[in-house]
């Protein structure tokens, strides 16, 4: 009996702290565990008792990479509870803010975390010696995203200008104007990035995933839409809890999310792309075609191309919004506290992010639920490894480990986001 154990005690090039354990016995894969041991953070618990208007700033602290996503899901869910709708230029500014975050987050992952896998480098530092232009362009591109977030959010990380009903302050047209030239450069650079990712080599790894993402009739989704899948799911955010369930597994401090009754599903850029390809502008669709991607992509390793396409889209969309921008009369819609429950899903860079808040008549949060994308993808990541490992089992251990880590990085997991909650039961006797 021959046993092989692949153990990565600390996953590299992912956000947060996690590990991987794979056991192979007599050439049979016996165990796969994506272990998330980052301590739980209890955000949902300490949101209880806080004023609902504090939620955007509190939840932004869940993640330093995607704070805008947490703010957006929070404000939409609370506005849903308060029966408020934000439209017009305020809605557009929210999309613009999201564009900034997608650019920042996607470029970080494409160039600094994922690209070294494809080019055979241990990390971005090693890669930068041979590909300095790629890294320099990526850093400049990321900076454009930072500038958008800083302008609309007040600062680059954990923005402070988002509020329930809109913003504390909205920019005048002239403030956005300097971003136009920067975004035109960013759009061209993103296009180059798409072309470059299209030249990479990808393993054959087409899987029969159930993709889940928001879908909106008129636009590629950021803030709004129905929750749809390629297997017939079509629900509003308020029906999330009746269609999805979370379970605690012993090896992870992040709850595993599943679709009732089908189990694992896939959220993120690949899901958005497959379910919303027709909403992408011609420029992005053409770039996808030139990079060798059709309207459907089922190979998670190709998510690096899709991320670069979404970066291109975010640049294009940001330019469109800035060109059509007129400063609204009021920076926010007035909101009045009332009792109710609100639900929202928005599209974080890593995938759909669900928030639910119950409020009392004073607007105090009595209950909160947050389901981040990495939590939702955990089962699918483990399933990918179960499919991948038997195909590459004969590789030397080092190479096998490398490919398994790369398969995890296909999802750009944000472990810090995922470990916000753990059910703790105290038994006293």
């Amino acid at each position: 009996m021959k046993t092989k154990v692949i153990k990565v005690n600390m996953l590299a090039r992912v956000e947060g702290e996690g590990a991987l354990l794979i056991k192979i016995r007599d050439n049979q894969l016996t165990d796969v565990k994506l272990k998330i041991y980052e301590p739980p953070r209890f955000f949902e618990a300490f949101l209880r008792g806080r004023d609902c208007r504090e939620a955007p700033d509190l939840t932004a602290r869940i993640c330093g990479i995607c704070p805008v996503a947490y703010q957006m899901s929070a404000v939409h869910a609370i506005e849903d509870a308060l029966c408020v709708q934000v439209q017009g230029q305020l809605r557009s500014l929210r999309r613009l803010l999201y564009c900034g975050e997608w650019i920042e987050s996607h470029v970080l992952h494409i160039a600094m975390l994922h690209a070294p896998d494809f080019l055979g480098y241990a990390d971005a530092l090693e890669m930068a010696r041979d590909h300095p232009t790629l890294v320099q362009n990526a850093l400049q591109l990321k900076k454009v995203g930072n500038e958008i977030v800083a302008l609309l959010g007040g600062r680059e990380i954990h923005p402070i200008n988002v509020r329930v009903g809109g913003f504390y302050r909205v920019p005048v047209r002239q403030e956005l104007a300097p971003l136009k030239e920067r975004l035109k450069w960013a759009r061209d650079t993103a296009l180059e990035l798409v072309r470059w990712t299209g030249t990479l080599s990808f393993p054959e790894f087409e899987q029969d995933y159930e993709f889940v993402a928001l879908s909106h009739p008129d636009e590629y989704p950021f803030n709004e839409g129905r929750l749809v899948s390629n297997r017939g799911l079509d629900i509003a955010a308020k029906d999330y809890d009746s269609s999805f369930v979370e379970e605690h597994v012993a090896h992870s401090n992040a709850l595993h999310s599943m679709l009732k009754p089908r189990g694992a599903y896939f959220v993120g850029p690949l899901a958005r792309y497959n379910l919303n390809f027709t909403r992408l502008p011609a420029l992005v669709q053409d770039a996808a075609k030139a990079a060798g991607l059709g309207p459907e992509c089922r190979n998670a390793f190709q998510s690096i191309i899709v991320r670069s396409l979404e970066t291109l889209y975010a640049c294009e969309e940001a330019l469109r919004i800035i060109e059509q921008y007129e400063r609204p009369d009021q920076p926010a819609v007035e909101v009045q506290p009332r009792a109710g429950t609100g639900y929202a899903c928005t599209e974080a860079p890593r995938g759909m992010l669900y928030h639910r808040y119950a409020l009392d008549a004073n607007g105090t949060i009595t209950d909160a639920k947050i389901v981040p994308p990495t939590s939702q993808n955990q089962k699918t990541i483990e399933n990918d490894l179960r499919e991948l490992v038997p195909k590459i089992m004969d590789l030397p251990k080092e190479k096998l480990t490398w490919q398994c880590e790369q398969a995890i990085r296909n999802y750009d997991p944000c472990i810090s986001c995922a470990t916000h909650f753990l059910k703790v039961e105290v038994v006293r006797s």
Binding site: M112, A124, A128
Partner: protein, 240 residues
């Protein structure tokens, strides 16, 4: 009015001297540089008062500049010495305030601010660090390190001339830490020409804890050392 102009000139000369003093790894403002600055100022002043008053004017000017700097330090938020970055000197403290000894860099920043010296807090993310110092030629950076030395020990690296040992700066929760930022910037040609890094040895990084007493002493020593470099004149005048 001409006094105000002269004082502005004095400020700029002194601050230029701070940079000049860092050439060749000599961070402390040298005695020679000080004399050069004062001589320049004295001659400028003498040009207004007449050549016979050179000695007297030099003494007067020295006292005047010192008094003005102290006054600006205390009352004027736009003081150039409160904002070393205006002279191309940037002080950055990295760390996590909620993880014990990892807060050291941030606490040095806090101490420097109490001394009237502007400095920036930073989470330690490499890419943001590179953006933070791009375009600045003189950078002082403070972070917690793990080298196996005794807790609270203060170390200093001249990162512009020597590569950093990556494992020492292992406290970042991000994909790259300070060492990654320095080496990536070096590879890309984006490293400041003067980059002095202070590392304070840490041992305890539990969530929600305070730095150990030894690290707190290291924080105090580091802040005093940086203050001595940035504003030696003010320390000598008892502003600390």
């Amino acid at each position: 009015m001409w006094i105000a102009d002269l004082l502005r000139f004095a400020d700029s000369q002194l601050l230029s001297a701070l940079s000049l003093g860092q050439e060749g790894g000599q961070t402390v403002l040298t005695h020679g540089t000080r004399s050069l600055v004062l001589a320049t100022l004295s001659f400028s002043f003498a040009a207004c008062c007449g050549t016979k008053m050179i000695r007297r004017s030099a003494r007067f000017l020295k006292a005047l500049v010192a008094t003005t700097l102290v006054w600006r330090m205390r009352f004027n938020p736009q003081s150039v010495l409160r904002n070393p970055q205006s002279n191309g000197l940037l002080i950055i403290g990295c760390g996590n305030p909620d993880r014990g000894d990892d807060a050291a860099g941030l606490l040095v920043v806090q101490r420097l601010r109490e001394l009237g010296i502007e400095a920036q807090e930073h989470g330690g993310d490499a890419l943001a660090l590179i953006e933070c110092w791009r375009g600045t030629q003189n950078v002082v950076l403070i972070d917690t390190v793990v080298t196996g030395s005794r807790s609270g020990k203060v170390m200093m690296w001249d990162a512009a001339t020597h590569p950093l040992v990556g494992d020492s700066f292992c406290c970042s929760t991000h994909a790259f830490g300070v060492a990654g930022a320095v080496e990536l910037a070096r590879t890309l040609g984006w490293l400041p020409s003067h980059l002095r890094i202070y590392g304070i040895e840490g041992k305890r990084f539990a969530m929600g804890t305070q730095p150990s007493p030894a690290v707190l002493r290291g924080i105090q020593r580091t802040a005093q050392e940086i203050a001595r470099i940035v504003a030696p004149r003010l320390l000598r005048l008892g502003c600390s």
